[in-house]
């Protein structure tokens, strides 16, 4: 499948990019190459620090002041040499021909300017039209990116738009000049899966209509599989493997690609089936080029030659490029990542099924400050109902997964249970005892029983406290140990999270994200709790590190018989770790199911939509139809009736808008809150699943 030369849009050869750090030039990207055809969607995958954004910036000729392109590089765009262009020529290219959609649309839009004028400004710069004509072009573009009510959107300020809408505006702004090359730098990172699916769908459509070449930069293999025709895998600034997406995802020959694919939990995969295969170690820091293979330190197949000689990037006749000494052996099936399926642990505690925690009608309403108009009219705005009547039961040693979009109230629910926020109403029982509202009122015994692992490992540890002190503190404070015993126990805890004893004297600044999260986990386990709340514990980590942390959490749970409340927007991760899964929407639960039941019909229509939106890391299973619009209603003005009816693809009529749906029992503890009877749900969903499989 060679692309004719005339179709070649972007050609990069031997691109080496360096940053000046402490008076030395350190290469961040080495010998990068790329051939992008018109109309092609090219994926650039890598973990943090792999140099993917640096490449994008170099392409735009927009490297930061301490960066430079090393000599010998070639960068041709539509036959023109990009590196030789003057600043003025580049400006003309930025305005019209190469467009970049950045990761954080909220930060890329000017917060002090209404959306309309901003877009018009870029239209003026790009195609030189003004006035009514430009406005018409903008409306057409807003319509193309499926912005509902474009006139209204144009009059709003960026902060008044949801993340998904902001990203659409950015895409509209980029596409209005019909650019030849579009660079998308993690455009859906930070968005909900549902929104992500909608945006991906949109990008796919818009590209199909145009002849735009797309460079899609991301760390998310699922997204790449969903969108890209060809993929380059970057590691430590070097190309590891480059191939058509279909081949790459089904017949990867590079150990790193294999490792990445193996470390992703597939939807429906559970810790009881098989452990994930994490890649050992951490992504490398920016450093001088060594003579070894960049991946050798973490590679399961590394041999002496890998540590002594950097493998060349070999271009194979079928179009694949690969940088590995041992790819032939992998291709021929002589090397396998060791599948440690035996380690999939059986729970030692499931038999007891002792009730640990019960939550009844738990409610948290945040009052909203009154405006002057409210004061004058003696009214008060309705409160934000973040958690609005949740009933939940958790057994000892059980892992309960809690999923839902952002804004569904998951984190507030967790904070109520742990006591960081005071509940408005409802009951919380632990081991049959009523638990007080806030941490300040709770006794040390209760505090010791409920601990928490936070989302962001950067902030979870005090930067001025050593690892030893961080872990010792709960031992002394909550378990009443004397300093000597606490020291020994802290080292034992470190070992249990697979960190060496010499980590005890390090400070958080010296640890990688994954290591910090391990320390945070050790700290949470220090008080020997019955329940640990994990609020998105892996979402801030690199893909290759996530799997190791998930495995660790699964092992510690089985060893200690600890119950988890595991919150995540990543359904595959929840499905992997949880025994039971609860689906939350606008402050209420809509479905509770055992892990065996959740991934097959019947689903609640909301759960169904969430699942459909997961970008599966397989180009052969693309999410075709998106089921949900991207606007989650405000928790201050929750729709009446079934609160999901405004977005429900299976709504059956007025009853959904008027009456609260009943809980329906689907057997074996599987309950669904919906007006549609279980049988009908099962039938409809089985049918649509079969239909999708036939496509």
């Amino acid at each position: 499948m060679m692309t004719p030369a005339s179709d070649l849009l972007l050609e990069i050869e031997d691109l080496t990019l360096s940053y000046r750090i402490d008076k030395r030039w350190i290469p961040a990207v080495r010998n990068f190459q790329l051939k992008l055809a018109r109309g092609q969607v090219y994926g650039l995958v890598g973990e943090s620090g792999s140099g993917k954004s640096t490449i994008a910036m170099a392409l735009m000729r927009f490297l930061s002041g301490n960066g430079r392109v090393e000599s010998g590089a070639k960068m041709r765009f539509a036959g023109e040499d990009l590196l030789g262009k003057s600043a003025a020529e580049m400006r003309a290219i930025w305005a019209k021909r190469i467009k970049l959609v950045p990761q954080n649309a909220g930060a890329a839009l000017n917060p002090s300017m209404r959306v309309g004028p901003q877009v018009l400004e870029s239209i003026r710069a790009a195609i030189g039209i003004d006035g009514v004509e430009a406005e018409r072009a903008m409306m057409r573009m807003f319509h193309d990116v499926n912005l509902i009510d474009p006139e209204k959107v144009a009059r709003r300020y960026p902060h008044e738009l949801s993340g998904g809408m902001q990203q659409r505006v950015m895409i509209a702004m980029a596409l209005v000049s019909n650019p030849e090359l579009l660079i998308l730098d993690e455009p859906t990172t930070g968005l909900d899966v549902t929104t992500e699916a909608v945006i991906l769908d949109l990008i796919r459509q818009l590209i199909a209509e145009r002849d735009t070449g797309v460079l899609y930069i991301t760390h998310n293999l699922g997204v790449v599989a969903q969108l890209c025709e060809r993929v380059t895998v970057l590691y430590a600034g070097e190309i590891m493997e480059d191939d058509r997406a279909d081949d790459l995802f089904h017949q990867a020959w590079h150990p790193y690609t294999l490792g990445l694919l193996g470390s992703l939990p597939r939807p429906g995969q559970n810790k009881r089936d098989a452990l994930l295969h994490p890649i050992d170690g951490n992504p490398p820091a920016l450093k001088d080029s060594s003579h070894a293979c960049a991946f050798a330190e973490r590679c399961a197949f590394a041999e002496d030659i890998c540590r002594d000689v950097k493998p060349p990037l070999e271009s194979l006749p079928d179009g694949r490029a690969i940088r590995c000494h041992r790819w032939r052996e992998i291709r021929d099936g002589e090397l396998h990542l060791v599948a440690d399926d035996s380690a999939a642990a059986e729970p030692a505690h499931e038999g007891r099924a002792q009730s640990l925690m019960r939550v009844a009608d738990l409610t948290k309403h945040f009052t909203v400050g009154r405006s002057l108009a409210d004061v004058l009219s003696h009214s008060a705005p309705p409160p934000i109902r973040a958690v609005d009547g949740v009933d939940l039961a958790l057994n000892a040693g059980q892992a309960l997964g809690l999923v839902g979009e952002s804004g569904s109230g998951k984190t507030t629910l967790a904070r109520l249970i742990v006591g960081l926020q005071e509940r408005t109403g409802g009951k919380l029982e632990l081991l049959g005892m009523d638990i007080r509202n806030s941490v300040r009122e709770r006794s040390p015994d209760v505090l010791a029983k409920i601990q928490m692992v936070f989302q962001n490992p950067q902030n979870a540890l005090n930067p001025y406290m050593s690892v030893r002190d961080a872990i010792r503190r709960p031992l002394i404070k909550l378990r009443g140990m004397n300093p000597g015993d606490a020291d020994a126990e802290a080292l034992a805890l470190l070992r249990s999270v697979n960190l060496r004893a010499d980590y005890a004297d390090r400070f958080p600044g010296e640890l990688s994200g994954g290591e910090k999260q391990r320390v945070a986990i050790a700290r949470a386990f220090a008080s020997d709790p019955d329940l640990i709340i994990c609020d998105e514990p892996v979402s801030a980590l690199d893909v290759s590190v996530q799997a190791a942390v998930l495995n660790l959490l699964a092992r510690l749970q089985d060893q200690n018989g600890t119950a988890y409340l595991f919150i995540s927007h990543d359904l595959a991760a929840v499905g992997y770790l949880a025994d039971t899964i609860a689906v939350m929407y606008l402050g209420q639960l809509f479905e509770v199911a055992g892990r065996e039941d959740l991934f097959q019909p019947p689903f609640h229509p909301y759960t169904e939509a969430l699942f459909a939106a997961i970008p599966v890391a397989d180009p052969r299973h693309r999410v075709e139809a998106t089921l949900l619009s991207d606007a989650l209603p405000s928790a201050q003005y929750i729709p009446g009736g079934c609160r999901f009816h405004t977005r429900c693809p299976r709504a059956i009529g007025p009853i959904c808008e008027e009456e609260e749906p009943p809980w329906r029992d689907a057997g074996a503890g599987h309950v669904i809150r919906c007006h549609i009877p279980i049988e009908e749900l099962t039938e409809a969903q089985t049918k649509s699943a079969a239909g999708a499989a036939m496509d």
Partner: protein, 305 residues
């Protein structure tokens, strides 16, 4: 808390970063020179008694910059026959003591107050915040004059602690004036830090407020406090000199720079201009030097953050 070793390396790194900028390095050097004078002025001054009037009055400065000859009275003598050079050297110690200790007290009290305000929030923060706003709305010099005026006019038994206080009234004024400013800085830094998850982790452990304030939050606030302290110090020097000049600070015949400027202005300036110029020059150089230094500290802290 950081162990001593790490703390020293961190401080050394900061000092290195501070000295890399030529302007702030110069400022630091000059400030250090004045600190040296303050500490060892008694040994350095040719006439250790500042009120020694045994010299000829109104002698012109004998300092010759070209040949670096100091002569008998480098800065001349004033109309009472006191050696200006010795008085300027000996004046350094009082300005460092008053401005330095005043700043130290204001930073200690202000940061504790700011930490508590920021962490507690609610009514406590609201009320304390308004009081602070009110205090800061009054011009600093005016407030200082009022406080000095009131306390100076009270009668205290000689040797009582009130009398001791009254003697150090300028020091007290500086502390009171700068507590609100420092508290504000500490409060805003605390507001940022307290939302970090390690603080919540401490709350979940049931730590006391004092532990959370001083062990969890304070270390992260210290960089901002160091910058503020250096800035406050430069303002304090200025204030001490101003009060001395207005006659509300040190009393005659002490060798206070501000006071010396005051004593030698007006008609005396025609007679002995050097007796005014040299202390004035000392004030200006020290204030500028400390300002340059604090600017460098701010840069160094920002860099390491």
């Amino acid at each position: 808390m950081l162990p001593i070793g790490q703390r020293i390396t961190a401080s050394l790194q900061m000092i290195k970063a501070l000295l890399r900028q030529p302007a702030s390095a110069l400022g630091t050097l000059i400030a250090a020179f004045f600190l040296f004078l303050a500490l060892f002025g008694g040994q350095l001054a040719p006439y250790p008694n500042p009120n020694d009037q045994s010299h000829n009055a109104r002698v012109s400065p004998t300092l010759d910059i070209g040949s670096l000859q100091f002569g008998e009275h480098p800065f001349g003598t004033d109309r009472l026959g006191r050696d200006v050079y010795s008085r300027v050297i000996l004046g350094a110690s009082s300005i460092f003591r008053i401005a330095g200790l005043g700043t130290l007290f204001s930073v200690l009290i202000g940061s504790a107050l700011g930490l508590l305000m920021g962490y507690r929030g609610g009514m406590f923060d609201e009320i304390t915040g308004r009081v602070i706003d009110a205090l800061m709305a009054i011009p600093a010099l005016l407030l200082a004059l009022v406080m000095v005026g009131i306390i100076r006019n009270m009668d205290f038994d000689i040797g009582s602690w009130q009398a001791e206080l009254s003697n150090n009234v300028v020091l007290l004024v500086i502390a009171v004036l700068y507590v609100p400013v420092v508290a504000r800085v500490a409060r805003s830094a605390t507001l940022d830090i307290k939302t970090r998850e390690f603080v919540e982790a401490a709350e979940i452990r049931g730590e006391t407020t004092a532990y959370i304030l001083f062990r969890e939050i304070l270390p992260s606030v210290i960089p901002a406090l160091v910058v503020e302290a250096s800035l406050r110090f430069s303002y304090a020097i200025f204030l001490v000199a101003s009060l001395g000049f207005l006659g509300f600070g040190a009393r005659p015949p002490s060798p206070d720079w501000g006071l010396m400027v005051n004593e030698n202005r007006g008609g005396y300036y025609q007679l002995t201009p050097w007796a005014l110029e040299f202390p004035a020059l000392a004030i200006a150089i020290l204030v500028i030097a400390v300002n340059l230094m604090s600017d460098g500290i701010r840069r160094a802290v920002q860099k390491s953050a």
